[in-house]
């Protein structure tokens, strides 16, 4: 499936293919943990990019599919540890939705290991950097999502119009 992917040479001779991971992080724990990784100057590949939401409970299945649809090779959702949620229990809802996400991905022929849910506290900069590096390595081993992303792009109902949706699974 690699044929479908155009090699994106980095400026300055980067790798031919750099895994792209969309990380959707809650404001209070994971986003803060990612900031701490930065403050601590821990390193991880530039292909991982973070979108901030207030709570991991905000992550609807449409966001995950949208990321793959737009060409992400992996999706990482980060929330507070169980019991630590700033909104009491949003992360438990995320944990439940993980099953929906995984089933959805299987239906689209996407390996479920391309999706990951992690609890990262505001103090766990090192954990975040470790997870980021680990996940990117795993996705490198899986290779680009390529043709599946293309299929997703052709699939109907995933345009911006699909607000909120996909909760009925």
């Amino acid at each position: 499936m690699t044929e479908n992917v155009t090699a994106k040479g980095g400026q300055g001779g980067g790798p031919a293919w750099e895994p792209k991971v969309v990380a959707i992080f809650c404001n209070w724990c994971s986003y803060t943990g990612a900031d701490l990784a930065g403050i601590s100057r821990l390193k991880y590949p530039a292909g991982l990019r973070i979108v901030r939401v207030m709570c991991s409970g905000r992550v609807s299945p449409a966001f995950v599919l949208k990321a793959f649809h737009e060409g992400a090779d992996g999706v990482l959702v980060g929330g507070c540890h169980p019991g630590d949620c700033h909104y009491l229990e949003g992360n438990y809802k995320t944990l439940k939705r993980k099953l929906v996400f995984e089933r959805l991905l299987e239906q689209f022929g996407i390996e479920k290991t391309r999706f990951r849910l992690e609890w990262i506290s505001g103090g766990e900069g090192d954990k975040f950097a470790r997870v980021a590096n680990e996940l990117i390595k795993e996705i490198e081993a899986l290779g680009p999502l390529g043709s599946v992303a293309e299929r997703l792009r052709q699939a109907d109902g995933l345009s911006l119009r699909a607000e909120g949706g996909a909760g009925s699974a």
């Binding site: 994106k8 980095g10 400026q11 300055g12 001779g13 980067g14 750099e18 969309v22 209070w28 803060t32 990612a34 900031d35 990784a37 930065g38 403050i39 821990l42 390193k43 991880y44 590949p45 530039a46 292909g47 990019r49 973070i50 979108v51 901030r52 939401v53 207030m54 709570c55 409970g57 905000r58 609807s60 449409a62 966001f63 949208k66 990321a67 737009e70 060409g71 992400a72 507070c80 019991g83 630590d84 700033h86 909104y87 009491l88 229990e89 949003g90 809802k93 939705r97 506290s121 505001g122 103090g123 766990e124 090192d126 911006l160 699909a162 607000e163 909120g164 949706g165 909760g167 009925s168």
Partner: protein, 651 residues
């Protein structure tokens, strides 16, 4: 239809960002994005001239959206929101791209960092295009502050707030306030006695009409949010009517039951009805129901008979107090490291291996030996070893430095010399005497006779097969030799650790913990008393190990934070709440049970869900589940987030 006019401002942050990200390329890239009418780069966007650039452009270009690519929004979001507001733009029309903490600082190569920065800027521009103006709302604040933990940090905070004229509830789990400091003998570097400087503050706290002291009490439940926390406190039954009791102590004299005294670190005995120490505040005893004969067998009641004011109440029940507070200060303190987990120290196996707090009690005039430093058999020691870093600076236990142990050890060395004729061996890894007058104190003690400072970690404590005393093994790293030092007493200066129930307390108050288990501050250097939960502050050793001066400083600082909330009389609540678009709502009610704040109800007449915006905190869990997209979270709606995802993915 053309989109809103967007201005993009790229910050160099000195060299913090500019070293890794090609600023010119990023600025030019931003300028090419749709709807961007101006893009600039500047050395420090957060500086006044940087902010002025934004303000001037809002007027000159008629900007309708602003994107700042700089540090984390956790640092400067308020700065740039304000700049927009002053410039005449609604502050919610500003979006930030985090190209420092999440880009330049974490990326190895310049090419990758520049690519990532472009993606983050595009993502922010995408979101900015879809932003809408919002207005902050404010709600009234309850002017009372709750302080949890009556050690020196909590006492200091309570006094400061009360002296400013505001009401405080000080809740302490033990029968008396005072905390760990009440156990100490002398305090470094001045050697004034802990009780002499602490008890006046304890008494002031008890006498201040603005302070409600709740000892032998615990917080059971916290709900609500900054300005209006609803708190349930359980005041455990003392078995004594506090109003009638005059603290004469007759009950304690006559009580026939003796159990180990927690306050004496297990070395002395107390009665089943007791005050933990003579200067306790309040000076009213409690009945320890686990050990009292009456609660076990239904007989005895000696204390009741001998009490002159007839204050003993065996049938007293726990009291549940429900109160509303504007701010909360958590100052729940630390737990000393338990050295019995490591066999090498022989703690619990050898009688004369004691912890630092046990030494404090021995040396304290109100302690079990009346202030004499004695071995278990009642004789005076001839040689004492003091070990630093027991359970700290040790990856097997706690990696962190416990901060106080070097100074405590130097103080102990001095006290041993002052009270006995014993030689002192002080085994240190590094001597860290960092505070005001600390190095001077160290130099003074170094010059004292018969104190030997040995650089090396006490590795093992054994019984001397010949003398029956103790042997301390240490590698003297300055001489490069192994030594076995015969002593008859060893003082283990153990680490300050998080309380065993720190996780439970953290969850109760909605605060997080750092990797070492202590409570997590909002910013390690700049916001040490704030937490991620607005209106909840931390002070003292529950945040990290610290000495008395630093603890007092944080207590006062937390008081300032709490006063900031209660003095204003109102708090701003975020307008980024959920709303229902009634025409889209199908009335499926899926969202209603998902809301942790019960902010969503159902309008039977209209057949649609209704959001109570006063209760909504804007987490968005409801919106993620709404099958028809009728629930919308302001500032984090589906279109905005999907366009951000698009932005980070595109090349």
């Amino acid at each position: 239809m053309p989109g809103p006019k967007i201005g993009v401002y790229v910050c160099h942050c000195g060299s913090n960002i500019a070293d890794k990200v090609d600023m010119d390329a990023l600025r030019d890239f931003a300028g090419e994005l749709p709807d961007v009418v101006v893009s600039r780069d500047y050395k420090y966007m957060c500086s006044d001239p940087g902010q002025d650039l934004i303000k001037a452009d809002i007027k000159e270009y008629g900007l309708e959206r602003v994107v700042v690519a700089s540090c984390s929004p956790r640092m400067h979001e308020p700065t740039f929101k304000r700049a927009c507001e002053v410039g005449g733009l609604n502050p919610y029309l500003m979006e930030m791209a985090n190209i420092r903490e999440q880009c330049s600082w974490v990326t190895v190569d310049r090419g990758g960092a520049t690519r990532k920065a472009k993606a983050l800027v595009r993502s922010a521009v995408n979101k900015a295009r879809l932003l809408e103006p919002l207005e902050d709302k404010s709600v009234p604040v309850d002017p009372k502050t709750l302080i949890v933990g009556g050690g020196i940090a909590g006492i200091e905070a309570a006094l400061k707030i009360a002296e400013a004229g505001y009401k405080v509830y000080l809740v302490e789990r033990e029968p008396s306030i005072g905390g760990q400091m009440a156990k100490l003998d002398k305090t470094f570097p001045t050697l004034d006695c802990a009780a002499c400087i602490l008890t006046p503050k304890m008494v002031s706290a008890a006498q201040n009409p603005n302070i409600t002291l709740l000892t032998y009490a615990e917080v059971e439940d916290v709900s609500g949010y900054v300005g209006n926390f609803e708190v349930t406190i359980r005041k455990r039954a003392r078995g004594v009517d506090e109003k009638l009791c005059n603290g004469c102590g007759t009950c304690q004299e006559k009580c026939p039951i003796k159990v180990p005294n927690e306050f004496e670190e297990g070395m002395g005995l107390r009665k089943a009805i007791y005050t933990p120490f003579p200067q306790a505040v309040p000076n009213k005893p409690v009945i320890d129901r686990e050990n009292c004969t009456y609660y076990k067998t239904g007989k005895c009641r000696v204390c009741e008979r001998v009490c002159p004011p007839q204050a003993v109440r065996f049938d007293q029940e726990d009291e549940i107090i429900k109160e509303r507070f504007g701010a909360i200060i958590v100052s729940t303190g630390y737990q000393p490291f338990d050295p019995s987990v490591g066999k090498q120290w022989g703690f619990g196996r050898y009688d004369n291996v004691i912890t630092g707090l046990q030494f404090e009690r021995l040396s304290n005039a109100s302690g079990p030996t009346g202030g004499k430093v004695l071995l278990k058999d009642g004789t005076e020691p001839k040689a004492v070893a003091i070990l630093h870093c027991v359970g700290s600076r040790d990856k097997n236990y706690n990696e962190y430095c416990s901060r106080i142990c070097c100074m405590t050890s130097v103080k102990f060395a001095h006290l041993v010399r002052e009270k006995t004729g014993a030689k002192v061996y002080d085994l240190y890894m590094d001597m860290r005497t960092f505070g005001k007058q600390y190095e001077e104190f160290y130099n003074r003690v170094v010059a004292e006779r018969d104190i030997y400072f040995i650089r090396g970690k006490g590795a093992e404590i054994m019984e001397d097969p010949v003398s029956g005393g103790l042997l301390v093994r240490v590698e003297d790293t300055l001489l490069g030799v192994f030594r076995e030092i015969p002593v008859d007493m060893v003082v283990l200066n153990v680490a300050m650790c998080p309380r065993p129930d720190a996780q439970e307390v953290a969850q109760k108050f909605g605060i997080q913990r750092s990797a070492d288990g202590f409570f997590l501050e909002y910013h390690l250097k700049l916001e040490p008393m704030k937490t991620a939960n607005e209106g909840v502050f931390i002070a003292g050793t529950c945040q990290a190990p610290k000495d008395i001066p630093d603890t007092v400083g944080q207590g006062a600082g937390a008081a300032a934070e709490a006063l900031k909330v209660v003095l204003l009389g109102k708090v701003t609540v975020t307008p980024t709440t959920a709303e229902i678009r009634e025409t889209l709502c199908s009335g499926c009610r899926m969202c209603i049970p998902l809301c942790p704040y019960t902010a969503i109800s159902f309008n039977e007449a209209k057949g649609v869900a209704v959001v109570n915006e006063a209760l909504c905190k804007g987490c968005g869990t409801c919106a993620a589940s709404c099958p028809s997209g009728a629930l919308r979270v302001r500032h984090f709606d589906n279109r905005q987030l999907l366009s951000q995802i698009e932005g980070v993915c595109a090349e």
